[in-house]
Symmetry: C2
Subunit: 299 residues, 2 copies
């Protein structure tokens, strides 16, 4: 039950009220794959520049992440610079340098073209579509997007959505895409474009999962300290897809549990910069927090 992810592997420079870090490991495929690696085998399709630090390659290898689809292109690695104020829910982008990502033309290596689970992390929907065309139809296709693509490439996104099982968006994006301010209506509108389900991420307030006729609502795990929310969404996706792939069955029960594992994994990510916290946790920490989550939501 292998997982394939297409997305970015990047160098982030981040400033939060709790500190500042430069050129730390980031990128959607990075957060997703390190998280999903706790549950299953993951392969990455992405590109980095010649300046991408060797120790980060080693780090990914140590997590047994398949890097056959990670190419090194001439030029510099994709860089994102951002800042969070005390309201840690909103990332303020200071600069984005696409660098080698600008001409990224994803090519899934031959031996990775039959993934059972595919996560299309947030990149140009045309590239996401291209990857979909290269692989045998997976059991589950999950997909992330963002306001930028909704504004600039709505048609491409619509074409893509016909082939997606679960779309992940934050609440503002769901409202923007659908033109509906109410989340129930927004979700139903999104679903009318093709996906079987939509997961609406509400940051510190948790997530709502909508399928055609039902929904599931989960609060976020409450934390005493949040250091850096970067990567929370991709970590969430990694926990969700990772858990479902390990469970080997895709149904309402495994999706719901996957959503809780996604929330739990995201709760670890935000407790430190970059993927640092994820590198320090064990399976036992994950299970322990999952059980605590059960306890604090039971009635």
């Amino acid at each position: 039950m292998s997982i394939l992810v297409i997305g970015s592997v990047a160098l982030d420079s981040v400033e939060t009220p709790f500190g500042k870090r430069d050129d730390i490991l980031g990128g959607s495929a990075t957060f997703f794959s390190i998280t999903a690696s706790f549950f299953n085998k993951v392969n990455i399709v992405a590109t980095v520049g010649e300046d991408f630090p060797k120790q980060y390659v080693t780090l990914l290898k140590n997590k047994k992440i398949g890097l056959d689809g990670l190419t090194v292109s001439k030029g510099k690695t994709f860089r994102w610079k951002g800042r969070y104020d005390f309201d840690l829910n909103t990332a303020h982008t200071i600069s984005t340098h696409l660098n080698v990502f600008k001409d990224f033309d994803p090519c899934v290596p031959e031996h990775l073209r039959k993934p059972e689970f595919l996560f299309l992390a947030n990149i140009d929907p045309d590239l996401q579509y291209k990857v979909l065309q290269q692989v045998k139809r997976p059991k589950l296709v999950a997909c992330d997007s963002m306001n930028y693509w909704i504004t600039t490439k709505k048609r491409s996104l619509e074409r893509l959505l016909k082939k997606v099982d679960i779309l992940l968006l934050n609440d503002a994006e769901a409202r923007q895409f659908s033109g509906e301010s109410n989340l129930i209506k927004a979700a139903q509108r999104v679903i009318s474009y093709g996906p079987k389900a939509v997961v609406i991420k509400r940051g510190e307030y948790g997530v709502i999962y909508f399928s055609k006729n039902a929904h599931f609502i989960a609060p976020a795990y409450l934390l005493e300290k949040i250091y850096d929310p970067t990567g929370a969404g991709d970590t969430f996706a990694g926990g969700m897809v990772g858990y479902i792939s390990r469970a080997k069955t895709i149904n309402e029960t495994t999706i719901r549990k996957g959503i809780i594992y996604g929330s739990i994994m995201a709760s670890f990510t935000v407790e430190d910069f970059s993927v640092n916290r994820l590198l320090r946790i064990s399976q036992r920490d994950i299970e322990s927090r999952f059980n605590h989550f059960k306890k604090i939501t039971k009635f």
Copy 2:
């Protein structure tokens, strides 16, 4: 297991994106008591003016609410005028006319001085304290307050909190009272003033209940249409205290279930202006929504 509530019975003029109503039945004691009446016998301590419409008195009587503590004072009834924009989470007060409430000196009638459950709705903490002194120590004292009293009467509030079991605040108020932005820390700071527990209301995002060593987190019931959020907080309290009083036992389990009933009741209130929706629902509607809530949060 009788319930006593001290608070306001008022006439509200409300404007939301979905309509406008003048001099409709409002007030914290009103929302609380009508809600709690679904679960148990409730008595009100409050005052209205000579202009208070007879049909509203009839309405309360029809809900079997005890009105021996509702006095009619010379002058006009307390009036609140407010407006909600599309973000229905924030009430914008246009005017507040205390009228007869200005000189309100609550006196609990002799035969009501042994309530088993007491709800001190949001009024001057000195008046809340005065009521507490008039009654035999109830099994449970729940108390609401607001930013205005935290700013102007923090000392009085602190004196009161020593005698309160459960304090209800919204998230901004909890942060203001405690000086802590993180809710876990804010709650523990509030608890250090005396209450055994604090319920932090997060509007459309649900509630978190904190006791000294644990917490319980519940999302809000998701609605397709919200017409008027006025009274949601007092309705929540009415459902919570009402359920606990009916359950006859105060423990972690009944408090958690009470919180869900509170959320459910609030979800009805906001579906129409004033208490209109509450007047149209049956026990069956409440149980049905409670069961649905279980279903949409289970994992």
